[in-house]
Symmetry: C2
Subunit: 414 residues, 2 copies
């Protein structure tokens, strides 16, 4: 709806990325310029902050610090993993959200997150519409998993991919340094979609990558894997393997699941981890090679010093464009990217229905994955390579990154 006058609210949600704050910078700096936006709020820990009327007053922040957000990793206003109840069963939380939005006259709502967050955003948007409350709701995409539906890619992916490719190249030099048999197994995030693990192919492209790459999109066959590893040990002493944390056997079992009981998170997702270690242990039992497991863990999603410039700029613009779209009367949409061309790299920002993005995981096309861990096709390289170009990082002070430090002044409760 056009000409809404009121406060704007941003929430950050889900796992952090190197650029989720770049989107926040885009939203905040653009919102502060808009006449129709009376206040600019940041929800403290996403949806939880809204339920508790817990907001930061962004108008009291220094513009300089908001600009530094562009290169500050993770979620400056706090993130959350919280699943709202199904509104058809219990809509009390949605009623509460509505009450808070009305009380603070929040007319512009931006939610920055991945699939689950877009689902949350979609449900809120639909509930407000049904309730007759005018509020323009725009989703701002982010996920290192790159599995948001309907968009060419998502902010956060490219920087994580650049981290994975760069770090694997460096590891390649380290893990091949002795003349002894060594197997190095690297575990990369990505529960069901192998986009991030696929970026290991960018290191392969440079001749300094893993020998084997396993995505969760194809069933993982341990026997075949072991044959490949044995062959490579015989051939060249050294083997480097990149595996997604989410690889599964054809019976649907995760690798650690074969050995331990799994915990689940608030969204009912299995808590993975240990895939590389379990594989390493199994290879160790069967060969004389020295076997090492390395987990990129939180490093792959927080290494802002290795962010892709393309990614940082797109994340920032996604935030800006979300505000502009909302001001122009758009609601119930997520910012998305449509690729025009890869060489030269060109995209168009598009507005996707929130429903489309929510809860459907966009996976790596099976035809882009070479079988038996052999890597990725040229189609994938052409897709991914343009995304990791350029550098954008925090200025250095004392040789260390100078990240944003917000004042974090709370909005007085009404």
């Amino acid at each position: 709806m056009k000409n809404l006058v009121g406060a704007a609210l941003l929430g950050q949600s889900g796992g952090p990325t190197s650029v989720i704050n770049a989107s926040a910078a885009g939203v905040f700096l653009e919102a502060l310029k808009q006449e129709n936006i009376t206040e600019v709020y940041g929800a403290v820990h996403g949806i939880k902050g809204i339920l508790h009327e817990d907001f930061y007053d962004i108008k009291q922040e220094d513009i300089e610090q908001l600009k530094l957000l562009k290169n500050t990793p993770s979620s400056a206003i706090g993130s959350v993993r919280y699943k709202l109840k199904n509104p058809k069963v219990d809509n009390s939380e949605y009623q509460r959200l509505l009450e808070v939005f009305i009380k603070y006259n929040i007319r512009y709502f931006f939610y920055n997150g991945g699939n689950d967050s877009m689902d949350t955003c979609n449900k809120i948007s639909k509930f407000f519409k049904k309730s007759g409350f005018d509020c323009n709701v725009i989703g701002v995409p982010k996920t290192i998993d790159n599995d948001l539906n309907g968009t060419d890619h998502s902010p956060g992916y490219a920087s994580a991919a650049k981290y994975v490719a760069t770090t694997l190249m460096e590891l390649y030099h380290d893990a091949t340094v002795y003349d002894t048999q060594m197997v190095t197994i690297v575990e990369i995030m990505g529960r069901n979609a192998g986009w991030l693990t696929a970026s290991a192919a960018l290191a392969q492209l440079k001749g300094q990558g893993p020998d084997l790459i396993y995505l969760p999109e194809l069933p993982f066959d341990f026997d075949d894997f072991f044959v490949q590893v044995q062959k490579l040990i015989a051939e060249k002493n050294k083997v480097i393997v990149a595996v997604s944390e989410g690889i599964k056997t054809k019976d649907g079992k995760y690798i650690p699941e074969l050995f331990q009981e799994l915990k689940k998170d608030a969204f009912g997702h299995a808590q993975l981890g240990g895939t590389a270690q379990v594989l390493a242990d199994e290879i160790q039992k069967r060969t004389k090679a020295k076997v090492r497991a390395i987990e990129f863990s939180l490093l792959q999603r927080s290494s802002a010093h290795l962010a892709s410039k393309v990614d940082v700029e797109e994340a920032f613009k996604s935030g800006q464009k979300a505000v502009r779209a909302a001001i122009n009367g758009t609601t119930d949409k997520m910012i998305g990217f449509k690729r025009i061309s890869s060489y030269p790299y060109k995209i168009k920002y598009v507005l996707l229905p929130l429903k489309l993005a929510a809860n459907h995981e966009q996976k790596v096309p099976i035809e882009w994955i070479l079988p038996d861990g052999k890597g990725m096709t040229q189609e994938y390289i052409d897709y991914a390579l343009p995304l990791i170009q350029g550098e954008s990082k925090a200025p250095l002070v004392d040789g260390l990154p100078h990240f944003a430090k917000l004042k974090k002044i709370r909005v007085e409760k009404k």
Copy 2:
């Protein structure tokens, strides 16, 4: 001895660093300029390559690629962990080395490594001298552990320290993002000397570091550790801990040792790892917080993209100066650094007796370590901060580092 005419040989040894190749670049580029040096060889996998007469012919490499070595991590000509027998018990390996040196007329020998490598270098130097074979032997220091005796610091340390500090700052942003209780335990390399773990204090200095830092120089008390963690959880929900892989109880037991049998490497050193995971498991049993262990593993010693410029330059110059010293008749010495001042940072290159550097581990002064995991004193900050200044890294091609690619042409066996 002056005016020796013959071949120069470089060996790389021990665990890689981000800058060991910078020293190689210094040695190679300087050696190629020297009239008295007839050939420039690289030992394939250090001492093993010499025993097997296995050398790369560096004269056949492109100068451009040798320059790129300056920013290429790890050991381009291959490293080794190999302990020569005690010459007093069995000097057959030394006889063999002498035979090879004579056969290839190697009159300049440079060995780039840490304590064990300087010990090897020292023994070779002494054996040659006793045998009446004229060869100028110079050790070039490197170790991320920073424990070489007699030198202010060692190349490799500063870049690893910059990695640790930068990455901990980024992790700080990630590991404090939810409003739930979280304990993050990060494991940092350093078997007996806590220099690298101490660099976590540089992140603390920025207010974005770990809450607790544990070095192996002080005995680790699990009960006190647990009290500190509990207190911090109560105070602020989040705890970040940096521990050296080598922390030990006052009874001299490594943390994993309390739970598993330890393997030993070729030098008789305990094979550690898992310290953070074991601590995380123990904390998990005793609290409701989410606990996560992160190992910096090989990443901390190979992340050339985060190298310190001071470190890269010093590593390169150490190589150059080793060659110049040898040409000027120096032998049986290691290149070392003497600090003139910290602000402004100024060092002098010095020549230390190999015997002095060999096998004595230089530890962090106890008086620089605050008790109970509280961090480091200002003395440490003043020591370390100047070392991590500036950036020096490989040029980017396709958004990824462009590392050296040597031709690796073998010297024909005589």
